[in-house]
Amino acid sequence: MRAFPTVLLLALLGSACGQDVVVLRPSQTEVRFQNPPTKVDILLVVDDSCSMQEEQEAVGEGFDAFVEFFELADVDYHIAVTTTDMREPGVDVPQDPDDPGGEQGRLVGSPPYITPDTPNASESFRDAVEVGAWQYAGVERGLDAALAALGGPLVDSVNAGFLRDDALLSILFVSDEEDASGQPVTHYVNRIRELKGQRERDAVNAGALVGYNVETGEAEDCNGGLVGGGAIGGDRYVRFVELMGGEVASICDDDFTEIIARMGLLSSRLQEEFELSRRPKPDTIQIQLSLDDDDTTGEDIPMEGLDDGFYAWEYVADEEAETWVVRFTDLARLPPIGSRLNFTYELF
């Protein structure tokens, strides 16, 4: 009985303080938000050489798919188009003194850029992207054209208003031939990043629809190259996208619908993937989705999604890169803007 105080003390200490003394972290909760930017400027640089007519039409028909994610995210967008043609009038085609030259970075279409308020935006987009096919435009200089459109004197003249200081920027190239711009690819990457300031490294991204092998992830001739009606590998465009961050697709693909939608998603910055900070046990991952601030607990989202198929997801692990990612599988049914996602999981 004399030992009672000691036993009581140890028992009390053990039971009352056990959680603080023994540090176990069997599970983890992370909070993420679906917060895309409010403003994005998108420049399409479209090849207007003779071989591009069909591809222009296919891209031009994809406006609804392209802006789907901007509308979903309520993003204030500016979409503009220029060509890869940097010909100087009267210099490059001496046999034709009437040749008006290329666009040299000037925005094409009327209005020169499309916004959420543009009437008949789909029609304007189609008209702008179908830049035509010109026999003199056979030397494609897409990187030069992008830089001229965004960083040269045109910004203060005919292209004024398109590029906004407080907007993110996406540059998308559409071409079936290689870029022939005069400087190293890194020159264009650094110059264009400078336009947005070097603070936000992710303020600019890029996409390319060019000669490319999706399986190998490398630029490559496709469908027999130009002679066979296909495309030449776009090494320089691919390199630009690699350095800038973004996505490349093959211009030889039969159906552009999904490609254009993915380019739209890329430009909108709406997230389909959420990286977890630690390696989870895959079968322990739980997701709660809150649609507004008042909903503190959220709704459980099973892997197969809700009954209507919304928010289906999968877990993707890359052990070599040590990345652990939850990816929402249906691009049309991503977590909505402003939603809060709680990821709870046990550590691997």
Binding site: P5, L12, A16, Q19, D20, Q28, G182, V189, R199, R236
Partner: protein, 232 residues
């Protein structure tokens, strides 16, 4: 007395428990954390777990820092000058010992300017040796003379001539006037960036009425044309 000792013992035990556990609530307050994932920030701010407390910080990853600096995400969560990896440097640079240094070229097409080639030994883009896309001073009259094998025979210093262009570069002129110097290329030989290796052919029939052609030389043709190339 015994009752008093029991009471004293109980009170002492309670005091010890309170004292022993007293720090726990303070260590687990709303601002405390064990990991950055437990910290939330307002839009436009970044929060990290610093010394057990969530704090507003300058950066979480190097992507939050200007190019040429990196995030000290192990300790201060501040942007420090230098680099941790190539992604912290300008495109074309690499990170060596926390310092961004020029990477050097690896590919003529990707890393060099028009008219240069990548010297793989030095990692430097060198100008292509010799003259090219520079006008050659042709004295050609436009009247080519053909030998028995239907090859042009009087063009040594004019059409396909080397004297003006120097080295192995050839002068491609035309019947309308002086031409430009083009660097030669053989099978598999690379051309400087902005040029492609192509055939110069002539008709077998001197009358130029068409018919079969024959390759008489291979040169690096400028993709832009010499006028446009020189205007760059």
């Amino acid at each position: 007395m015994r009752r008093f000792l029991l009471l004293l013992s109980a009170l002492a035990t309670l005091g010890l428990v309170i004292a022993a556990c007293g720090r726990a609530p303070a260590a687990r307050d709303a601002n405390s954390c064990a990991d950055v994932s437990e910290c939330e920030a307002e839009p436009g701010e970044l929060a990290a777990c610093v010394d057990g407390d969530c704090e507003i910080v300058e950066c979480l990853t190097s992507g939050d820092c200007p190019v040429g600096s990196f995030c000290d995400s192990e300790d201060s969560y501040e942007c420090l000058e230098g680099c941790n990896n190539d992604g912290d440097c300008l495109a074309g640079e690499q990170c060596n010992d926390n310092s961004c240094q020029e990477r050097g070229c690896q590919s003529t097409e990707l890393d060099c300017k028009h008219g240069e080639f990548c010297n793989s030994d030095t990692g430097v883009c060198d100008p292509w040796p010799g003259n090219f896309c520079t006008p050659c001073n042709s004295v050609d009259t436009g009247e080519y003379v053909w030998d028995d094998q239907n090859t042009i025979s009087n063009c040594d210093d004019e059409y396909l001539g080397h004297a003006t262009c120097g080295g192995e570069a050839v002068c491609l002129n035309s019947e309308t006037g002086p031409g430009d110097c083009y660097p030669p290329c053989g099978d598999g030989d690379a051309c400087p960036y902005g040029f492609f290796c192509g055939d110069i052919t002539i008709n077998q029939d001197p009358s130029c009425a068409g018919g079969p052609t024959r390759v008489i030389a291979r040169t690096c043709f400028p993709m832009l044309g010499c006028d446009e190339f020189n205007a760059l």
